[in-house]
């Protein structure tokens, strides 16, 4: 896909409030408990974010795959942020207990299909790699067979898919899943750069991956760490969508901690507007991402 540069259209902003790795130790402003997460998404929604990328924590702040906690957050987002797209990351994160760093099992991750109310989108991570967190190396398995089964479960429940791709091979894997009838066009890619074990957060990686995305797809960039502000400028100039939030970077600039998720959303909104791009509203985003119109609110 050629980067769109003449009429980049509206930008879809996703807030990634929490993640499944670092927590309040890394930045005390990172929301961990459901009410914090819901409040943070509400703030982000008011500032222009239309997709809530959701990870949850247990009462101690440890990443969890507990579907009840996910359900609580989704309900809260649906109630307070009318139409905001709920998106659950299927990597879940890692459980840090004492000095142990344990990823979630494939069965625990498959169980995300049982979240109720169902989210609008579930993430597929379209490739396997080894990653490091706190000097612990761990495998992050995302086999095709498991992904295919997961996508099948999503289809049965009417849940859409966001495709997180960490390298060129992952885009190719997604195309193979489309060839096999597992995924259907248009695809919605999240190009993740700067993850441990993924492609680095450079302009070269970004350009190579954008060019590998097939025509007709949508794409956003998820930039982890310090290159986040500069590369977000590039992404917005290229016509991509953006995801920001404390999941992706705990700093606002340099080593200065971000005050909140909404601070990062507000910056993305400002940059997008400075570059001449308007912010997509929820209804526009639902159309662009091929999702059903927002649910009718229950009568009060």
């Amino acid at each position: 896909m050629e980067p769109n540069r003449v009429n980049p259209g509206k930008v879809i902003i996703t807030a990634a409030s929490t993640g499944g790795f670092h927590g309040k130790k890394a930045n005390p402003n990172l929301p961990e408990q459901p009410h914090e997460i819901i409040q943070s998404f509400h703030d982000c929604f008011n500032a222009g974010a239309v997709v809530a990328h959701i990870h949850v924590r247990d009462t101690r702040g440890v990443a969890t795959s507990d579907v009840d906690v996910y359900g609580e957050v989704i309900e809260g987002v649906m109630a307070r942020c009318p139409g905001m797209i709920t998106q659950v990351g299927n990597g879940v994160g890692v459980r840090c207990e004492g000095s142990a760093v344990m990823p979630f099992t494939l069965d625990e991750r498959m169980n995300l299909l049982n979240i109720t109310p169902v989210p609008d989108q579930l993430t597929i991570n379209v490739g396997t790699f080894h990653s490091e967190y706190l000097n612990h190396e761990f495998l992050w398995p995302n086999p095709r067979r498991w992904n295919s089964e997961f996508v099948q479960g999503c289809k049965e429940r009417g849940i859409g898919n966001e495709l997180e791709v960490y390298d060129l091979s992952h885009i190719h894997n997604a195309l193979e899943l489309m060839d096999r009838g597992v995924l259907e066009a248009p695809l919605h890619f999240s190009i993740v750069l700067g993850a441990s074990g993924g492609a680095p957060a450079t302009v070269q990686s970004l350009m190579a991956m954008v060019q590998a995305v097939p025509e007709g797809s949508s794409w956003q960039a998820v930039i982890l760490g310090r290159p986040q502000p500069a590369l977000t400028g590039v992404v917005l100039g290229l016509g991509g969508n953006v995801r920001v939030g404390l999941e992706d970077t705990v700093c606002y600039a340099g080593s200065e901690l971000a005050l909140s998720n909404v601070q990062l959303v507000e910056r993305a909104v400002r940059i997008a507007r400075e570059l001449g791009r308007e912010i997509a509203h929820v209804d526009e985003a639902r159309t662009l991402l091929g999702l059903p119109a927002r649910p009718q609110q229950p009568p009060s």
Copy 2:
């Protein structure tokens, strides 16, 4: 040159207030007379621009190569904007008289060497092409021999050179001039995109040209027309310097006319800071561009 993405450093902002083509008919806020131009540069200087890219007009607003008018503007800028780098574009522009569109002759352009006080920099346009303005096609000659003579004149007067390159071949021409001993490293490139007859204002052109710039050079982008805001985001994210001003685009966004040069400078400053880049002060810019320290102000 690989785009610098980790530590892009400070950004040098150039204001191109006036140009030698369109005038108040295209945007009534475009400064034409010396006092207007000086005031506009002063406003831009206060907002963060450290280089004044200068074109001048006669009393009717028609582009002129009159060295006295240039001198008047340079004096004004030196007096009111301490240390601001003065840079005169050697293309001068086109004389529009009635329905005629006449470029300036090579002799008129060579005479820019006689401007006093001398500017800090004179532009070299490192390639020849046909261009169109108001449906008039004209040749814009920039032969090597003439450029070599012009650079020689600059050296004799202690004037630095900014190299405007409108395509890949122009960068190559500059390298040939360096091989012949005419130009000396480090070179300072202005990658101009979107000019009639030059490379188009696309990300692909930009990336190809940045990669062709030799290591150790500085580069800025000059984006003409509507892609200006979006591509400026890309350029700032890549670590480049930027030029903005009514010479390059009369619109602020879409078809909305810009209110002033400083409005465009202020936006560039805001974007740069949002992306994590600080604005170079005049002394820093002089060092980065290999220019002598700012002249001592005469005693008042």
Copy 3:
């Protein structure tokens, strides 16, 4: 246009036997007189070349725009190489008389429309630049207006156009001519690299230009000078067509003079086949280039 890499299809080989610059002094094997040129094209045709790119010389070996000489060569090629595509370069070359190096005038070049029999294709050079030959710098003017008039003349005579592009801006100029209704899709590009004043003969230039060519076009590469063999391998691997001949390089490898045009064609054929590409026959090439079927041979 993405380089085609999976099924690159057949390759169209063009022979550029003579050119309008260097002659027998540079390589005594370069054909200058009509009978030499015709013989050389005949040899190349037998070896797989299906397009004859034609420049001619006067009896002294000096480049000429004499339409009678062109006509003589075209007749000879038509007679001896059934169906071979005749293509006349509209730059003609430079007249070297004593120490003078004089390009041909626009009027002399326009007069190529009067060649009889008409060639299958006339070249358009889609951009103006200064070039050097034997330390003489000269302007090579290719204004849009003139090109438009020339194309109009080609249309009236049923002559197709090959578009020689020496830089990114030239491709953009061609697209503008298409927007204005002068040229019609599909376009047939010759990406010329390594000319004095044009983009350099590097992989980076090549990739940038191939990507700028619009989908649905055909493209060949014309590589001048020593990088010719290596870049021809890249071009053939990318799925492009190739032009070879003593016009483009007088050496076979390094500084070793080529023995003949056909030696260069034979190498291109060998490389293409090694890379898995078959050679297009004249009828296939005529279809691929949108030219009419080969003329019926007159009864003998």
Copy 4:
């Protein structure tokens, strides 16, 4: 690293005779038994290959990690191909028993350190991914910690490392291992394209990966499957080294089975020479790859 295009230098040709996946069923000319493998390397050596990339099979033709079989092949190569660089792939392959497809364990792979005589180089695969073979999906684990331990073992035994990288992230992983002191510059990269689960065999992947290779490294391309001939032309034109052999493709062109490894080496040699590149002899290759001079042959 910019692709080298002006003076690409000599090309190092590696023969990958056998591999650890398909066997005589896919192509009966694939050597499986030690004497077949040694003979095949000998033929390739005579044709210009200077590196023997070694995988071995048991007596049934099933991939094996048996160090004695490796030792037998290495001894044979050393005896018959004076100075040829022996390189053992540490992925080993997959054991196909009945309908089962089983990769080798990390312990079995670590045991390759105990091959005697020691090979000149052992491969590091610098990233983990899921792959498919015969509709079986399997994990191919290459954790950093394990790779670090393996490299340490290589250092202790004076064995060099070849770095197989299947995607952008793998190059980044290698740089991280260099930052941690595990690997030392200059690095020697094998860019593998077209593997199931790796980056696809396209020019775009190739260019992105070549640009990501750090200056001062060497690189070769390993292209799997049908794009092999065309992309080999590109690689040789870019200045890269090449690996060919029945491990990488069982076909010579299209679906035509290759007759032997040497047939593929001979083609690579022919293409390289056509493109103006000479073939590195063993002593030159040892210098280029930072390996000790070839061992003195024992007195007979």
